[in-house]
Amino acid sequence: MSDPTITPALIADHGLSVEEFDKIKSILGREPTYAELGVFSVMWSEHCSYKNSIVLLKTLPREGSCMLAKAGEENAGVVDWGNGLAVVFKIESHNHPSAVEPYQGAATGVGGILRDIFTMGARPIAVLDSLRFGDPNNPRVRYLVDGVVRGVGDYGNCFGVPNIGGETIFEEAYTGNPLVNAMAIGIVRTDKIAKAAASLTGAPVMIIGSKTGRDGIHGATFASEELSEKSEGRRPQVQIGDPFTEKLLLEATLEMIDADLLVGIQDMGAAGITCSCSETAFRGGKGIHIDTARVPVRELGMTPYEILLSESQERMLAIVRPGCQGDVERICQKWQLEAAPIGVVTDSGRFTVDHDGKRQVDIPADSLALGGRVPQYKRAERRPEYLDQLAAFDPLTLPVPNDCGEALKRLLASPNLADKTWVYRQYDQSVRTGTAVGPGMDAGVVRIRKTNTALAAVIDGNGRYCYLNPRRGAQVAVAEAARNLVCVGARPLAVTNCLNFGNPHKPEMYYQFAECVRGMGDACRAFGTPVTGGNVSFYNEDPSRAVFPTPTIGMIGKIEDLALITTADFKEAGDGVALVGATKNELGGSEYLKVIHNAVAGSVPALEFEAELRVQRFVANAIRSGWIRSAHDCSDGGLAVTLFESCLGPDDRLWGLDADLSSGNGNLRPDALLFGEIQSRIVISFELDARERLQAAAASDGVPFWFLGRVASHDRFRLHPYIDESIGGLRAAHLNAFPALMDEVKAATAA
């Protein structure tokens, strides 16, 4: 079979512009071969090259005393943990594949991010997931939810990593284009961190793991275009995951790294062999030569083009120490994995590929790799007009609900605030026996074995806020993540992010992106949490609309003493309950506005970094001093929802609450008081005799402290004078709403 002729149409099909094609010709000094066109196409796709985002991403704070590798230098961020340990973590999106084939799309999203972690020598200790879908009353959306949750679950469950937290959010903007972001965290001894660099000339290059098939060819390119009616035809570009093989690959990889058999190693994700070879060669300042005919394949007749671009899962590229090839083969045999030598590290600085004695590819590695000569663009920005229109909406002109208890019940049963046990019950949360706090809390916590420390992690986004005010929305997302970590007793350390946006060629979309990056930078600088890396996902649009601009923040923190681990639930009847932080007349962008008044509008809650930090420091100190028994971030759904959530103990225990909101409320509107999502607030509970100490400390720290009332053992949830409901009744509404929605899927599938 001869290669197709390279025509303008073929170039366009490869997602390359005329200018980019000219640049390719000038780099090569000739016309590219068909295989080379494919290589450039994937390596210059947004997914691999970050060509439309890197200029702005470089403005993020990327330095910090805790960091062991610079952002982008390795496959994932590396943070010093102390005790000779390092934490490796990263987020990645798998939005487009999940839109077309939810189960495999989500599963391979988890698989991909896990490989990013263990390719560095780190053993994954936790995953988190951030999922966004359209209105769950739409059956297609429920089909996506069902498939994505199964995919996330099945992959991680079989691999053997606990899911310790996440979010599942529903907004119409995600109907055609769901967001599936997965975060993984691993731990490694600092002297065992593996490099993704081919830094030794003459070192054999091996491919390890699954055979290479025709799945996922051009997956990276697919991820870099808008979804359309044609996307269904992209189904074959969705990779197929095999978590069992991934588990074997994990064990083999760690064993090889531990035995010091490798010069470098990189997982194969997007753009498979092409990406791993060119990036490791570039990082090592070397070249790599391979022979695609030596790659173990699943089917006969695969062309070099297909082999180079395949995104078959569960594969690694290993740069082996000379003389250690036999040991690598022995370990792979032990774990029943293929290991084939396919090439060698060269001095040429070029990525060269032969097939059956014929040269197929000969490209300077630096022209393919991020940080090298890949194109970089700063796109045009234009402030979208809708921003001012929506911000002009004044929620305080809306009527106050007659029955705030009923409004609370409706909020608790709304898809975003309803109990999500249905989701995370499908995820193994406790494998590896490290999970101290699992999903559904402010942040997940895993203890680090053989130390007295624990790692806290959270994944958090707020597309609606970012839609209404991109810069502040992104600031709030970071602030909330940090606050969540503080609530469980952790000190925020570092950030990874997943930036989900529309088409960057549209100036309004690029404006949203640029503003969110600026907001994230503002907040990360304020909190001293460097951005260690992440992932950009553009083109999240279907023909009808773009998704809300959604930066997903993954943040990790350190708990210095296991005794400091704190949870959101009340602990004893009679304990005092207080709100730390100021309450204002703010309702913009709230869940309440959407659910009760059907409005996505208004001004995003204000955020002042100094006030936020004061609140966080106060609560951190109170936890360290042993003064408080629970802490819960007060944000989504506002104060009433937050207090309700603190009434939910482990093992189905329910607390009552006697709170008096009639005085000290600054004459706020009842709905703003109960449901406004005012930032920089935390609900705490404490033994009553700690009240004075806490109040005094708050006064001296300049932190507003509002004593609300007491935890009760009765069945009433009282926020006098607005709400007096049965806690059991509220909990039933909260608990049953989501399964009731999703069970319709079962009924529909059965029918």
Partner: protein, 248 residues
């Protein structure tokens, strides 16, 4: 007493079981390899949770043919202690060391949650240190834990006191609401006729420290370690043997 934990390709709770002995009880324990028929003179073999051989075909269906399993079957038949947890229970069923079979959970979904199980009998070294009627709280995490056997097999298991662990509510009632997977008669764990082989779906090794949410599982580990003195002469039968059934 020497304890060995088997690692199959795809086992992922092998280290958790190991850690319960090694790090929590400070008790010696070693790993056994699926491809090695030598049991290294251990007195107790643990078949851990996970997805041995990817659970391809059926959970445990391929693992039972491992070289180590040939030895485990012979070992069990001569009274050696064998403890299958989760995937390990599935392997025991496939290997014919325990009767019955596992079906997909009634929900047709993976389920990870806390459950309560009641100790129905202590006539096995794995539960010797527990009280009859004691309720233990620990996690489950499986997609195929819906225990099934013919009614007459179930009757025989019940009559001979071999249903040793049952899903119950906090007050001890084994009603459908306490049943997380549709298991027949709320069965969470059964033993063989001699009491030296236990299969259970819940994960006691995940409930050995307060920080993990429960340390109820320790009672089982203590039972086992304490049983070391009678390791080779398993407590004599108050249970009557049942003839082994063909697979369902």
């Amino acid at each position: 007493m020497r304890v060995g934990v088997v690692t199959f390709p795809g086992s992922n709770c092998d280290y958790d079981a190991y850690a319960a002995f090694r790090h929590v009880l400070d008790y010696p324990v070693e790993f056994l390899w699926h491809g090695d028929a030598d049991l290294h003179n251990v007195d107790c073999v643990i078949l851990p949770g996970g997805f041995a051989f990817g659970d391809y075909l059926r959970a445990g269906a391929i693992a039972r043919f491992s070289p180590v399993m040939r030895s485990v079957i012979a070992f069990a038949e001569t009274g050696g202690l064998v403890w299958g947890i989760c995937n390990g229970f599935q392997v025991l069923l496939e290997a014919g060391l325990l009767p019955g079979a596992m079906r997909r959970n009634a929900s047709m979904r993976f389920a990870c949650q806390w459950v309560r199980i009641k100790v129905e009998s202590t006539q096995t070294p794995f539960l010797l240190g527990c009280r009859k009627g004691q309720i233990l709280r620990m996690p489950i995490a499986h997609a195929e834990g819906n225990y099934f056997a013919d009614e007459d097999v179930l009757d025989e298991l019940e009559d001979s006191g071999r249903v040793v662990l049952r899903y119950v509510r906090a007050d001890g009632t084994p009603d459908p609401r306490a049943n997380p997977n549709g298991s027949r008669r709320n069965i969470a764990g059964i033993i063989n006729a001699q009491g030296n082989v236990l299969g259970m779906m819940p994960h006691p090794e995940r409930a050995v420290e307060r920080i993990l949410g429960s340390d109820d599982g320790l009672a089982m580990f203590h039972s086992l370690v304490g049983a070391g003195v009678v390791a080779s002469g398993v407590p004599t039968q108050t249970v009557k043997p049942v003839e082994r059934r063909a697979q369902v």
